[in-house]
């Protein structure tokens, strides 16, 4: 069994190693960042979904006679207020419109070169800035 075991370990090990280590031999895939803005969006969506679900529960409880009318009205307004607060606290990001090779008008006034973040459109504050101050993405080198 010892010889056969060694051969099988070698064969299976080689196949597994090639399969598993293959991605390490290839260039890293581009990955979407998990920036602050994306998290804020996700937080808003999950918060609103939770409130919607709670409203559904509340309405069902009221429809099933488990909750008094005055409580139902009070709790419903509380939930709507919570949703309003969530929406009010969200700051949408103005994205820069990126168009392919927009021709510069010949009459344009020459201005100092300003870089804009390709993700959120915020201007680069200084050439030394490594990350966007608004969304946290790395500035291209």
């Amino acid at each position: 069994m010892g010889y056969h075991l060694g051969v099988w370990i070698l064969v299976l090990g080689l196949v597994a190693a090639v399969f598993v280590l293959w991605p390490l031999a290839r260039p890293a895939p581009e990955e979407a960042g998990e920036g602050g803005h994306r998290q804020a969006q996700a937080g808003l969506v999950s918060g609103l979904a939770r409130i919607e679900a709670e409203l559904g529960e509340l309405e069902e409880d009221y429809g099933a006679g488990k909750i008094a009318l005055s409580d139902y009205q009070r709790l419903r307004l509380e939930l709507i207020d919570q949703a309003a607060v969530l929406v009010a606290g969200y700051r949408p990001v103005k994205r820069a419109r990126v168009t392919a090779k927009e021709p510069t008008p010949k009459t344009a006034v020459a201005s100092p070169e300003v870089e804009f973040c390709p993700y959120c459109g915020a201007a680069r504050l200084s050439p030394d800035q490594a990350f966007c101050h608004r969304c946290g993405h790395k500035w291209p080198a």
Binding site: H4, L5, L24, R26, E59, E60, D61, Q73, I80
Partner: protein
């Protein structure tokens, strides 16, 4: 074939270790490690599948050169039982455990990464580490591919008690449940490490959790069914450590599922979720430690003392890490919302959780007591069934009462008047149930009356919930009642699946109270051919003894007739089976009905069968236990089955308008 299986185990172990490291690197660095860790998990699953298949083939071919096959198979064993013998012993069942874990991890690796790439890298790392531990355990202390000392033409055969259909499925389901707990546990660890200790991880792990609970339930209940049909002592639950090792994690998992509902709906009880799921995970490991290592005497015959320390060290490391993580993230585990009222639905869930945990801890203490006593130098101490019955009866009754009350409670608020109006009919059903049950059982058994009342109140509540929800939908949409009913259930499978589980529990309580509280037994009665035994309302008449041979297996069976009140209920054939190697089993004969079972055991015979010795049990209402089991499992399936998201029934505009008029607000 044994060499191939062994090699697959070695490679699987290395892959599990690599997947753990790659998962952590993927969490820290991302990039290629992410792909590589996922591939490692899939390769691990493939490798352990190969190992398991190799063992199956060895059993099918009855290759007795392998020690494990020799110990658990024989040429006379039917093919199905040769395959189920793969997990009949310590080595094979541990391999099954490791394989299921790799299989779950492969499914998780292939699934959606809704909580972010880094989160799922951690989930896979935790699962891979656990798989590495179990694969290592198989490889280094319970290798099913080890060779037998010398070639043999016949094996010792499976333990004859395991020759039962329930024993084919019971271990599979039990392990699917035990191992399935690892997924939500890995989610909890990932959430704690990443600081994503909000509610999202609980929602993402929900499907995995409900399936794990379903399999835990199926495994435990099939085990009870096997014990009833096979162990000839007239009962279905003996409070043996191996049974308790299944019950305690089930109780914690049930508490976790209830907690997850509150966390999902109200962002409350956040700290409970990681604590409960960690406890469940640890208890699955503790259960296997208790029953595999022989530290506590059990009906289980898998004893491997080599595994005492590895499993114990693994448990301690998991416990210390989990406690450390929970302590580290404690500030983030604070609830976002407060409980509106102690008597609200949230309050009901908290109380249910406390009862589940109290019951689980009480059973755990009883199970571990012999170990504690030995460690304290008090010698062998046995905990009697009375202890377990005295703690489980009141707590079980409390749970039954909660099943009848909690669905009627509203989230956030409580008013007595509203509650009493909603609970009127269930309460009337409960009072009627109490009076009727106490009258039938005798007023001295008023506690049985309480159980009857709780069961009927609970069933009344569940019917009310179904009727009210259907009526609301039919009223709001104009749908016919049957259509409205089907859509109400289809659109909220989790809730109605849960209610079906509750109904199953209530039916099981009927069976448990009947069979445990009112069992009638007549032991060791010897009767001549033509003689009779009367037990309860039943008369058992002995007609004679016969023998059948199935190759090397002999079956000696008695022919008895059963009648009740002069009405013939047919023949029963209790038997004793004789297997090679001086192994014998007693095959009970059961005549079942909704009113109760007659359970006849052939103890022995004299004078070539001229007289037979019998033990007869009459177990009233025990069929309801098994009906309840199937209802519970159907409810679990309904709740676990992936389906449409929950959509609330719109409240009719006139109701909103009425409310607005009453309070002077709009919108």
């Amino acid at each position: 074939m044994a060499a191939l299986g062994d090699a697959a185990l070695v490679v699987g172990f290395l892959l599990a270790l690599y997947a753990t490291v790659a998962g952590i690197l993927a969490f820290r660095e991302g990039g290629q490690y992410r792909q590589s860790s996922r591939r490692a998990v899939w390769a691990l699953a493939a490798s352990l599948t190969l190992a398991l298949l190799s063992l199956v083939v060895l059993f099918i071919r009855n290759d007795f050169s392998v020690a494990y096959v020799f110990a658990h198979s024989a040429t006379y064993q039917p093919l199905l039982y040769r395959i189920s013998a793969v997990w009949a012993g310590n080595e094979g069942s541990l391999l099954l455990w490791a394989w299921l874990l790799a299989f779950y991890a492969a499914l998780v690796a292939a699934g959606p990464r809704t909580l972010g790439e880094g989160f799922h890298d951690l989930v896979l790392a935790v699962m891979s580490l656990t798989a590495a531990f179990f694969t290592g355990l198989v490889l280094f202390s319970a290798n099913p591919f080890a060779l037998a000392p010398a070639g043999a033409s016949e094996g010792a055969g499976i333990n004859p008690l395991l020759l039962n259909a329930a024993m084919i499925w019971h271990p599979l389901f039990q392990y699917l449940g035990y191992v399935g707990v690892t997924v939500p546990f890995a989610y909890a660890v990932a959430a704690l490490v990443k600081g994503q200790s909000g509610d999202d991880w609980v929602r993402a792990a929900r499907g995995w959790s409900v399936w794990a609970w379903f399999f835990l339930s199926a495994g435990m209940l099939l085990g009870a069914l096997w014990a009833y049909q096979e162990l000839n002592w007239g009962g279905f639950w003996g409070w043996d450590p191996v049974e308790n090792a299944a019950l305690v994690p089930w109780l914690f998992m049930t508490a976790y599922l209830h907690n997850a509902i509150v966390q999902d709906k109200r962002s409350m009880l956040r700290a409970w979720s990681p604590i409960l799921i960690t406890a469940t995970f640890l208890l699955t490991i503790l259960g296997t430690w208790l029953t595999r290592t022989g530290v506590i005497n059990s009906v289980h015959s898998m004893i491997n003392k080599e595994q005492i320390y590895p499993i114990a060290i693994f448990m301690v490391l998991v416990a210390v890490t989990a406690v450390g993580l929970i302590a580290w993230r404690w500030p983030k585990l604070k609830d976002k919302t407060e409980m509106g009222s102690l008597l609200s639905k949230e309050g009901g869930f908290v109380l249910s959780n406390l009862v589940f945990v109290a019951l689980a801890l009480a059973v755990l203490i009883g199970t571990l007591m012999p170990l504690f006593a030995r460690l304290a130098g008090r010698g062998d101490v046995a905990v009697s069934q009375t202890y377990y019955q005295e703690i489980s009866a009141p707590l079980g009754l409390l749970l039954a009462i909660l099943i009848g009350i909690c669905p009627v409670l509203a989230w956030r608020s409580f008013r007595w008047r509203t509650f009493l109006r909603a609970w009127l009919w269930p309460a009337i059903a409960g009072i009627a149930g109490f009076v009727a049950t106490a009258f039938l059982a005798g007023w001295a058994h008023w506690t049985v009356g309480l159980a009857g009342g709780a069961v009927l109140a609970g069933i009344g509540t569940l019917i009310r919930e179904l009727v009210v929800s259907t009526a609301a939908r039919a009223h709001a949409t104009g749908e016919a009642w049957p259509l409205a009913l089907s859509r109400v259930v289809a659109k909220d499978r989790r809730r109605f699946g849960g209610y079906l589980v509750h109904a199953g529990i209530l039916l099981m309580i009927i069976g448990i109270v009947g069979a445990v509280g009112f069992q009638v037994v007549q032991k060791g009665t010897v009767v001549p051919v033509g003689g009779q035994i009367t037990v309860g309302d039943y008369t058992i008449a002995y007609q004679g003894l016969h023998e059948q041979d199935y190759g090397p297996v002999a079956r000696v069976f008695a022919d008895v007739t059963v009648s009740r009140g002069g009405r013939d209920l047919g023949h029963l054939y209790p038997a004793r089976m004789y297997f090679p190697g001086d192994q014998t089993t007693s095959e009970v004969a059961i005549r079942g009905s909704l009113a109760g079972d007659v359970y006849v055991v052939l103890d022995g015979w004299t004078q070539n069968g001229q007289s037979g010795g019998f033990t007869v049990y009459v177990n009233p209402l025990v069929a309801w236990l098994w009906i309840g089991m199937y209802v519970l499992l159907a409810g679990g399936l309904l709740a676990a089955w992936p389906g449409a998201s929950r959509v609330a029934v719109p409240v009719p505009a006139r109701v909103l308008a009425r409310g607005a008029t009453a309070t002077g607000v709009s919108g």
